[in-house]
């Protein structure tokens, strides 16, 4: 390694820094992480849209839209593979919902699809019906219902494979940053634990044991837990020596204020929740109190966050495409809500008698808009983050 004098090394660093800045600006248009909150806002919009309808064409449309965006903007990273997992989960949900209808669903409908023997359990077993002819109408109802849940799962899966969890942590409010760190650290410990179990089990063979299966796992537990404990302590000591949890000075008055605000927020939210759910009738004050409660809690977070002296290295920035992506989520949700007011028969097609689902202009426009992020967002950088 060449030894350079400090002054030379500094000037070299600066010129290199400038050239790096330049290249970064040039490539910014094509190579950038979209703000993770933008992806989640987009996904939340799509999820709201999915919850307003049972129309299978629209639900499948939403899933396709989400799939297209994932296909176009999926980064190369381990967590980006979660979309496949969510798709499989969605298929499982639909299957279970339909099977449950066939086996123990409530009777109804007039069109028999598959004749099947059935039995009704005696009254002391709640009179549940088992099997019986498979009828078209309840079957369709179950299918639509399952599809709606599946669409929401797929949309959530899309966001989790598009938005980097580490980058999402950067956008967590300062007041709950500590909790965020714990979650991330725990997430990195899990894969480590799995490889520990494999290693310890392999070493048991070296001691001359052949017991595999459950007993093997049981005996591996102790060394693995010891190892995990040691690692946690090491990590905690390292974080402490690197300044984690360093706090600015806060007076007693400030502490009391932020505690009081939090208490008020929780109180309002509780009363509001009672007003909304407990009285059985819609009240004007339920939502109002909830709004106040949430307001106070946010205020407390701001107050508590002020005490944190942390700064953020290269924080996520909102560019035009990030804002548009988040807005697109809201627009899609808005269009679907509007459509369910304008043409409820399209959004919730009747199943008895079964009708062929149709489409309305508003919802189709929503589907197309939902796909736009696939084209307006920057491609994620190569290499992991």
């Amino acid at each position: 390694m060449a030894v350079v004098t400090p002054s030379r090394s500094r000037s070299r660093t600066q010129s290199r820094l400038k050239s790096r800045e330049r290249t970064r600006k040039q490539t910014q248009q094509d190579d950038r992480w979209l703000h993770p909150v933008a992806w989640w806002a987009w996904a939340a919009g799509l999820a709201v849209a999915a919850s307003t309808t049972t129309n299978p064409l629209l639900l499948i449309g939403l899933m396709v839209s989400a799939g297209v965006v994932v296909e176009m903007r999926k980064p190369v990273a381990p967590w980006a593979r979660s979309f496949n997992f969510f798709v499989k989960l969605a298929i499982l949900v639909v299957t279970i919902r339909v099977l449950a209808q066939v086996l123990i669903g409530a009777p109804g409908g007039t069109t028999t699809v598959v004749p099947m023997p059935g039995a009704t359990l005696p009254d002391w077993l709640a009179g549940v019906r088992l099997g019986g002819d498979v009828m078209l109408e309840p079957l369709l109802g179950a299918f639509y219902d399952g599809l709606r849940l599946a669409a929401i799962l797929v949309v959530v899966g899309a966001a989790s494979s598009l938005a980097s969890p580490a980058r999402l942590l950067k956008s967590v409010p300062a007041a709950i940053y500590e909790i965020g760190v714990s979650v991330v650290v725990a997430a990195t410990f899990l894969p480590q634990l799995v490889s520990d179990v494999a290693r310890v089990r392999a070493n048991r063979r070296l001691r001359g044991r052949s017991d595999s299966g459950l007993r093997g796992y049981g005996a591996a537990a102790m060394p693995v837990l010891h190892g995990a404990m040691d690692r946690s302590i090491t990590l905690a000591a390292a974080m402490d020596s690197r300044g984690y949890g360093r706090a600015g000075h806060r007076s007693t008055a400030e502490r009391n204020l932020s505690a009081g605000v939090l208490l008020a927020g929780l109180l309002f939210a509780t009363i509001g929740a009672y007003g909304l759910l407990g009285t059985g009738a819609a009240t004007w004050w339920g939502p109002t109190f909830i709004a106040f409660g949430v307001g106070f809690i946010i205020l407390n977070m701001i107050l508590a966050g002020r005490r944190s002296i942390r700064t953020r290295y290269r924080p996520n920035v909102w560019h035009a495409s990030d804002v548009s992506t988040a807005l697109i989520g809201a627009i899609v949700a808005g269009l679907f809500v509007a459509a369910s007011n304008v043409s409820p028969s399209v959004m919730t097609p009747t199943v008895s008698p079964p009708t062929w689902p149709s489409l309305s202009l508003l919802s189709v426009v929503g589907l197309v808009i939902a796909m736009i992020p696939a084209f307006i967002t920057p491609t994620p950088p190569k290499g992991a983050s």
């Binding site: 390694m1 030894v3 004098t5 400090p6 090394s9 500094r10 070299r12 660093t13 290199r16 820094l17 790096r20 580490a166 760190v181 650290v185 990195t188 290693r199 310890v200 392999a202 070493n203 048991r204 063979r205 070296l206 001691r207 001359g208 044991r209 052949s210 005996a219 102790m222 060394p223 010891h226 190892g227 690692r231 090491t234 990590l235 905690a236 000591a237 390292a238 974080m239 402490d240 020596s241 690197r242 300044g243 984690y244 949890g245 360093r246 600015g248 002296i309 942390r310 700064t311 953020r312 290295y313 290269r314 924080p315 950088p381 290499g383 992991a384 983050s385």
Partner: protein, 541 residues
């Protein structure tokens, strides 16, 4: 910069003193080396500098430690993070984030440094430590030397005036250790950082040190002074110092350069004498591998390896971190499935052997000996071992008594020192009397005493007809012990030959004695001592 004012420390009020009356003052820009045998309080001393001891560990500390005027009794470790940069022993376990760039910024984020300053410092540090090509790499994928440099960089970005490092090179191959030490050297000379460093591998670091703190064990105050004075009297010393003592050089040379200047008469004296070496008698092959290929999902760990090992041989496997040493050992015990080629131990395919059969053919002490231990006391561990090995009751305990007589029956295996744990694991492996014994990185974190004992034990085993395979980075251990050296690079064998041939042909793998006495092919102080002894007798006769 750092002041220790009559500091004593113990973990419990009636326990032994771990630190006893430490009294010293370290000036700005000084490079201080902390030495001592395993478990004598090196890590405790280092931890006390940034307040981890006693704030994090608990315990009773008397006296006062001041860092740049701040007393550690009133400042917690996090409040000293801007002055003291602490680099822990295992970098990977102490990384908080998951990429190089984020890790470099983490300390600064905690300290609340302005974003534009952070940007600049990260770039400077990437350049200073030669990490610029790694900036987006996930930390898990880095090599040992790279990890260590990232760990140093991660605390350097906060511009601390004191850098504390706990065994930064013990887990590294000689090349990576050079890399890390060169980076450190640069920090000391370019930026005037005060460095306090603990290390077992004295031969790697002693030439950089301005002062040495030698910890002597419980209830004894440490010796503090300049390296040659301290090492002249210390039992823990690098081979070059032992050589100087044998020959009677005074003042004591510390570096190869000093020793070489003094060694001319010794080289003359030794001319014409052939260094004595242990010769392995003709014996049968115990293990062989042919065209062995091991493939993991991401990498080819071994690419067609041919190797056969005879009874009585001590084979040292050397090479960079990740060159395939551990994979080769795993293949020998049948823990890795060959993608091509085959392995044969004692005429058996190790993968076809179940646990109880396997231990009678081959034993492996893994890199983390604790992985092999699972009972609550040493005694239970030994009883379980006898049962596993099908040996008469008491066999393992007898071996433990032989290898490490100070280990007590009632101790929990996790409370043993690193070296004792290794010897206990070795005793368990020996209980089944396997003809082939493998040791993976046995000297990581071992002091010279335990290393010496291990050397004797392994030599005895080889003389009794066992074959030994060691995967190691320790060139001194290889020189002392091995009869044959196999060097792996990128999954292939690049050199295979007698210890003398291999170690004297490359400066990277040469022990200190060989460097001092080159071009003659002496490897160890013992060889020189033996030769001088016989020589002197011949003279008088």
């Amino acid at each position: 910069m750092i002041e220790f004012d009559h500091v004593s420390f113990r973990y419990s009020p009636d326990g032994p003193m771990v630190l006893t009356d430490v009294n010293m003052s370290i000036a700005e820009g000084e490079f201080v080396l902390v030495v001592g045998s395993t478990g004598c309080g090196k890590s405790t001393l280092l931890g006390s500098i940034n307040g981890l001891v006693p704030h994090f560990t608990g315990g009773y500390l008397s006296g006062e430690i001041r860092i740049a005027g701040r007393a550690t009794s009133r400042y917690r470790p996090r409040d000293l993070a801007d002055i003291v940069g602490m680099v822990p022993q295992d970098p990977l376990a102490s990384f908080v984030t998951d990429t190089v760039e984020e890790e470099l910024a983490y300390t600064m984020e905690c300290l609340g440094i302005a974003p534009d300053v952070m940007r600049r410092r990260v770039e400077e540090t990437l350049d200073l430590l030669g990490l610029e090509d790694l900036r987006d790499r996930p930390l898990r994928t880095l090599s040992g030397g790279q990890r260590q440099r990232v760990a140093i960089g991660a605390v350097m970005t906060a511009h601390p005036t004191v850098l504390v490092l706990d065994e930064p090179t013990s887990a590294l191959d000689p090349g990576a250790a050079e890399e890390v030490l060169a980076a450190l050297h640069r920090l000391v000379h370019d930026l005037g950082v005060t460095v306090v460093l603990a290390e077992h591998r004295l031969e790697r670091v002693v030439q950089y040190a301005d002062r040495v703190v030698a910890l002597a064990g419980p209830n004894t105050p440490p010796m503090i002074g300049d390296p040659s004075t301290i090492l002249a009297g210390a039992t823990i010393a690098p081979p070059v110092v032992h050589l100087a003592r044998t020959v009677g050089w005074d003042p004591m040379p510390i570096t190869i350069r000093d020793a070489r200047r003094r060694a001319e008469p010794l080289r003359q004296l030794l001319t014409g004498i052939t260094p004595p070496v242990r010769v392995v008698p003709e014996s049968s092959t115990i293990a062989s591998m042919r065209d062995l290929v091991i493939r993991y999902p991401e990498v080819m760990a071994l690419k067609g390896v041919d190797l056969s090992i005879r009874r009585g041989e001590i084979v040292a496997l050397m090479g960079r971190n990740g060159a395939g040493k551990s994979s080769l050992l795993h293949a020998l015990v049948g823990a890795a499935e060959p993608a091509a080629g085959n392995v044969s131990i004692d005429g058996h395919d190790p993968r076809s052997l179940s646990g109880p059969d396997l231990v009678h053919h081959i034993g492996l002490v893994p890199q983390e000996p604790g992985d092999l231990l699972e009972a609550n006391t040493v005694f239970e561990e030994c009883t379980a071992s006898d049962r596993d090995a099908g040996a008469p009751a008491g066999t393992t305990r007898a071996i433990v008594a032989l290898l490490a007589p100070e280990i007590l029956d009632t101790t929990h295996p996790r409370d043993l020192s690193e070296g004792q744990r290794l010897l206990l694991a070795l005793a368990i492996v020996l209980a089944a009397r396997p003809p082939l014994i493998c040791l993976d990185e046995p000297t990581r974190g071992l002091d010279y005493h335990t290393k010496q004992r291990l050397t004797e034990i392994v030599t005895d085993l080889a003389n009794a007809g066992h074959a030994i395979v060691l995967a190691t980075h320790d060139v001194e251990l290889t020189a002392e012990l091995a009869t044959r050296v196999v060097i792996l690079a990128d999954g292939e064998i690049v050199a295979d030959g007698s210890t003398v041939d291999i170690t004297t042909s490359s400066p990277m793998f040469a022990p200190q004695v060989a460097k001092v006495l080159a071009p003659a092919r002496w490897l160890t102080v013992d060889q020189v001592r033996t030769a001088l002894g016989t020589h002197a007798r011949e003279d008088s006769a």
